[in-house]
């Protein structure tokens, strides 16, 4: 460890080479900005998986993923409700402007009024009067915060997507990411707004379990009950459903993990390069310090501290900028009607900062060893 009284010396060494230090810090900032983005994507995908409530099941048309291809008769609700273990059945109609993976997908969720009030509203933060405003008009929607920010929607606006023109009655906030990028509409409105030929049909049923841990049994019973029907079903937990439906996006998310490691390698390279150049230029300075009584290990610690400071400064700037940009941009990756809102977390940013600092230390090790090993006389003779 380096004593605090040597820190001003380290700072002076950095400040004496403003261009080199500035470039190293800027490069680290850029690399850590990218890392922050990747890290936010990873944590958002993980959060979407974990937030999936294990006390619910999703009943979908078998072998279908795009919402427009899953058309289950609303009458299935009564049959599903009679299955032992199914406490409540919520029919949901979903309409998306595009089934493909994209960053500007609008997802409408059509639900019955009583289902919204009983099951969804308690998990949302709503402005006073928003639900009443939603109830007062058949074409009213309650829009998730991420979607509202991305499309610049305010209460009273009208917007069109997925062939549906809706009126914004309110903006909802929630700790659960699944609500961020959707617009809650009235079920009958959505059924008829999407062409008028699909009345009486829904996209899925959300089933609340009577007892936790009975998901597999109840799912099997539901699928067995409807297996011989015109529209057979496949019932899964929300997590399993999301994994299957968003497989393509998850592949991309997994790939970006490598990109994140690449960013950290870039930080190592940038800081290591800057320190190596710095140590090479300061050979005679180091020789003088050694002549004044600084031993090799102290010199090494000074170099490592310099690396730590450079990477910490760049990391702080880059990660903070990533936080701000991601929150402003309100990105959400969507596919097949399932959205993952890309939001940075404080824990993620702190973790990223810790990694930067660790890499800064690692980058300084080899230059530090080089600086520590030089003989005074040889160093003073360097031209």
């Amino acid at each position: 460890m380096l004593r605090m009284r040597f820190l001003p010396l380290v700072v002076k060494q950095i400040v004496r080479q403003p261009v080199r230090a500035g470039l190293a810090v800027a490069g680290v900032a850029v690399a850590m900005f990218l890392f922050g983005g990747v890290s936010a994507l990873q944590s958002s995908a993980d959060a979407a998986m974990e937030a999936a409530d294990p006390n619910w099941l999703i009943v979908y048309r078998k072998d279908r993923y795009c919402p427009s291809t899953s058309r289950l008769p609303e009458s299935y609700a009564d049959r599903i409700a009679r299955i032992p273990g199914a406490a409540r059945v919520v029919p949901v109609r979903i309409a998306v402007n595009n089934c493909r993976a994209g960053l500007d997908v609008v997802t409408f969720r059509g639900v019955r009024e009583r289902d919204f009030v009983d099951e969804f509203a308690p998990r949302l933060t709503l402005a006073p009067g928003a639900v009443d405003a939603w109830r007062s008009r058949s074409d009213a929607v309650l829009v998730g915060e991420t979607l509202a920010r991305r499309r610049r929607l305010n209460v009273g606006d009208r917007f069109n997507a997925a062939g549906v023109t809706a009126y914004v009655a309110g903006v909802v906030r929630s700790d659960e990411p699944e609500h961020d990028n959707v617009a809650y509409a009235h079920l009958p409105f959505l059924q008829f707004a999407t062409g008028g030929r699909s009345g009486g049909y829904v996209t899925q049923f959300n089933v609340r379990l009577a007892r936790p841990g009975t998901g597999e049994t109840v799912a099997a019973a539901i699928d067995a009950e409807l297996a011989a029907d015109a529209e057979p079903t496949q019932t899964r937990s929300p997590q399993a459903f999301l994994l299957a439906a968003a497989d393509d996006v998850m592949q991309i998310v997994r790939f970006t993990r490598w990109f994140g490691w690449g960013c950290l390698a870039a930080v190592l390279g940038l800081v290591g390069n800057a320190l190596a150049l710095s140590v090479r230029e300061r050979v005679r300075h180091h020789a003088v310090l050694m002549a004044l009584g600084y031993d090799g290990r102290l010199l090494a610690r000074l170099v490592v501290a310099e690396g730590l400071m450079l990477s910490a400064a760049g990391g702080l700037v880059g990660l903070a900028t990533a936080q701000g940009v991601l929150r402003y941009a309100s990105l959400a990756v969507s596919v097949e009607g399932n959205s993952i809102a890309v939001l940075p977390t404080v824990a993620g940013m702190i973790g990223g900062f810790g990694l930067t600092v660790a890499i800064g230390v690692a980058a300084g090790l080899w230059p530090a060893v080089q600086a520590a090993r030089r003989e005074i006389a040889d160093a003073l003779r360097v031209v």
């Binding site: 490069g27 279908r64 493909r100 870039a266």
Partner: protein, 386 residues
């Protein structure tokens, strides 16, 4: 202006092999990322640009202009359109009219787990309106026999080997087996990653009662004529748009993704540039006296700057060449599963030129600030520099 000889710049590169290697490698990584991004986006653009026939008009259900998968049209409408629109192309009494169903279903093959794949229900008219499609092996599927025609990129989509989709093998979807009777090629189009089967067979199997769209190829008629027909027949609730306009709107849908990919490539380039600048600052700063000496010999500052730029550019171009060659070998034609289809990365002459230009720019931009800094001091001051 008397210029410094080119081999002076080359000899200087060899002064520090480690530094040269670092510069070349750094440039290769940065240009590599740039070229990868360009190849990905170019592949996306080409795939969408070539999927639409220039004379084709798409008829969709009203309100579904953004997405064919959402569109619903009663099957009878295809015949009404064929009879009602004058000026559709014909060949030997066969009208260029193709009623189609577009679906994404879970498909399995070769023992692999099922994956989402795009299917298209077609009639023989599809081969008229989509001339980009060529049956490379086997034949078109016949109705009523559970037969399919498979695109060249379907193996990549399903994550199986090409041999698993050979003619005679089977696919499974909608709880039944389908025999592959043909392989088709439609390079650089979305159809290359699709599975085609007879329209009625797909509608029956998927329990679907409506079409997704009707595709027409026009002859003497134009889009306005088809639009007018749709307005005359308000009862049909259809809209007409150019097929290419539909794919252009899809391209717009991917615009945020394109922006993010370019932004990422740009940021990586900037990070690389900063690293390179640092290296060049260090490299040039040790030569301040040498550069001052050159000035005393009569070479102008401009000539010296040009020589320094040559030096940096040669190194960065070397890295760019390495990156571009590697990309051409490793990435060109690489199939990437993306959003219900398959994207083929394209490293063509345009992308190669872009990569080399990026290398050139990196070298020039990387050399200028350090060169300016080293040449800023006056000659006496520079000659006294340590």
């Amino acid at each position: 202006m008397r210029l410094l000889p080119f081999d002076y710049a080359i000899r200087n590169l060899g002064r520090s092999p480690h530094r040269l290697a670092a510069t070349v490698l750094g440039s290769a990584v940065v240009v590599g990322v740039f070229v990868s991004a360009a190849a990905f986006l170019h592949g996306m653009d080409v795939g969408l640009a070539r999927s639409g026939g220039p004379e084709n008009v798409l008829l969709l259900g009203a309100g579904s202009e953004e997405s064919i998968e959402r569109s619903e049209i009663p099957p009878a409408h295809a015949g009404i359109v064929a009879a009602g629109v004058r000026g559709i192309r014909r060949r030997f009494d066969a009208a260029y009219v193709s009623p189609e169903v577009h679906l994404a279903l879970a498909v399995s093959a070769g023992g692999a787990p099922p994956r989402l794949a795009p299917l298209r229900g077609i009639t023989p008219g599809a081969f008229l309106v989509h001339p980009q499609v060529r049956i490379a092996e086997g034949r078109a599927p016949a109705a009523g026999r559970a037969e399919v025609l498979v695109g060249a990129r379907v193996a990549a989509r399903l994550g199986v080997r090409e041999s698993d989709l050979a003619v005679g093998r089977t696919l499974r979807f909608e709880r039944r087996d389908w025999t592959i009777v043909g392989r088709m090629k439609a390079p650089a189009t979305v159809m290359d990653a699709e599975i085609w089967c007879p329209l009625n067979d797909l509608m029956l199997a998927a329990r679907r009662t409506t079409l997704s769209c009707v595709v027409l190829t026009l002859d003497s008629a134009d889009l306005a004529d088809v639009d007018a027909f749709c307005k005359h027949r308000v009862d049909l609730q259809m809209v007409a748009l150019r097929q290419q306009d539909y794919y252009d709107s899809l391209r717009e849908f991917y615009a945020p993704i394109r922006l993010i990919v370019w932004a990422t490539a740009g940021l990586v380039s900037i990070a690389g540039l900063f690293g390179g600048l640092n290296t060049l600052y260090a490299a040039f700063s040790t030569r301040i006296r040498e550069l001052a000496a050159l000035q005393t010999l009569g070479f102008s500052r401009r000539a010296i700057v040009l020589s320094l730029i040559q030096e940096a550019t040669v190194a960065s171009i070397a890295g760019a060449l390495l990156a571009v060659l590697s990309a051409r070998v490793l990435l060109d034609g690489l199939a990437v599963r993306f959003s219900m289809g398959v994207l083929s990365l394209r490293v063509d002459s345009g992308v190669v030129a872009l990569g080399l230009a990026a290398g050139l720019l990196l070298g020039a931009a990387g050399a200028l600030p350090p060169a300016y800094r080293c040449l800023r001091p006056g000659i006496p001051e520079a000659l006294r520099a340590a």
